[in-house]
Amino acid sequence: MSQASKNMGHELASHFFRTEYGKLVAVITRYLGSSKVETAEDIVQETLLKATQHWEMKGIPENPKAWLYVTAKNMALNSLKRTNVHRDFLSKSQGNKENTSDFVISDELISDSQLRMMFACCHESIPEHSQIALILKILSGFSIAEIADAFFSNHETINKRLVRGRKQLRKVNLELLDRSLLNQRVNAVLKTIFLLFNEGYFPSIKEQAIRFDLCLEAIRLAKLLEESPLIEDKSELTALLALMYFNVSRFESRISDSGELVDLKDQDRTKWDRQSIQTGIQYLNQLSQRKLVSKYAILATISANHCVATSYDATNWNEILSLYDELLQLENSPIIVLNRSVALAEAQGAQRAIEVLEQLKQTSDIGNYYLYHFTLAELYVKTKQWTEADKAYHKSLEMAKNRRDRILLEKKIKFLVPYLPS
């Protein structure tokens, strides 16, 4: 048997490189210090490159993970020798010993380093956009091109966000992130994870696969928090996990074969992923025992209501409406009023919802948002006010930026034509 085929039996778990990239950067940065985060990224990229070169010819080794860690560790040691910098991490754990080879990479160190890196990336000194870009680049192993694709952005913009983010990140001392600080800041991290999830959840025709991966990454990061013994109060986290699992269960059915977004009403409910729904319910059950009222918990319960309804018409709209009312008590935002209007229309009729939305425009700047006009148009269609509907769709079209949304709107406008006075 030839050399090449000897090891071909081994396979890599899906996203192995991407996930290991994140773990390695976290560990190596821990080792070199956050001021050297870019060096750590380079070392890990180099490590994966080396692995690619060897494995493509020789096959995947029995323990690919160990191969990567040994290689990355050696490169990090060489980098340290070259710059002759001895970071706190070493002097703390090993005194001033010159020999750095006892740096042991354990599973605990990997989890702990990822957690610290997550909090560092979500540091208050870093702008929100940069936070998400940093997380995707450093912890999730996405390339700049992949991040740009997922955000309908370009290489230059994403790179700028990363440069800005790293500049702040370099000042964060990873060792100073102790238990109490982590617990104080956990909500900021959850917020970023939720933003990341939502970036993925509103999909595009382009790079659909990557968008779904954003959702999975958000879930993976939340689970890292869940597994950490350092986080004391996990109720918000549990609620967010429930919400993400419920939403992700509908991912498949939300996009038609031709790449268009499908309304909840028209979705094939047999395509909903039962396992994700089940997981969501388990998280939600953990929660209700603690009788917690929070944004994520309410959103999760709304999503759960959709997930368990056998059809659109069988949905418990009254329950959903009262959940939205509860949510408004916590956070009175125009977006929530807008989303609530859909439930309101189903529970109390479209005319009532139209009135609420007309009023909302007077008290907020929601009128600049394409989905406001879209929702309004849909309600006008329901009440057969065709001319009003046509006007609202056109307004929405003026504001819609995304190609997919524009296509959908043009279709809706065309559909109205026979009903309009000539």
Partner: protein, 118 residues
């Protein structure tokens, strides 16, 4: 069956711009291709080459380093294959999925057998 040497050529650090996900895809698809060649009994060996190494030549009575090519092209690995003739070797080389990445060149050369040496 004749023997062929396929030299995998590219610019320096060809995969540097691939994302981790793309690198994994690369390993998986090229690995599958090489496995198939092995199973068909065509593969004598396939090895990557380390990036370090020197070019030696003889100049003014002594062995010296270099000269190096003007271009940054390097050989990053080779396959040693069996094929019926050059056409078949070329056809096999064309099946290499690495070409999808657009950064590779593969040189296909028959190995000459000289009686009494091999």
């Amino acid at each position: 069956m004749r023997e062929f040497l396929l030299l995998i050529r590219s610019e320096e650090a060809p995969k540097a711009n691939l994302s981790p996900e793309q690198m994994q895809e690369h390993i998986e698809k090229v690995g599958k291709y090489l496995k198939k060649l092995s199973e068909e009994g065509r593969m004598k060996s396939a090895q990557p080459l380390e990036m370090e190494g020197v070019m030696l030549s003889y100049k003014n009575g002594q062995i010296v380093d270099g000269p190096y090519n003007e271009t940054k092209e390097i050989i990053s690995g080779y396959y040693h294959l069996l094929a019926k003739d050059l056409d078949e070797a070329i056809a096999l080389a064309k099946e290499d999925p690495r070409f999808e990445e657009g950064i590779w060149r593969v040189e296909v050369r028959p190995i000459k057998h000289v009686e009494g040496i091999n």
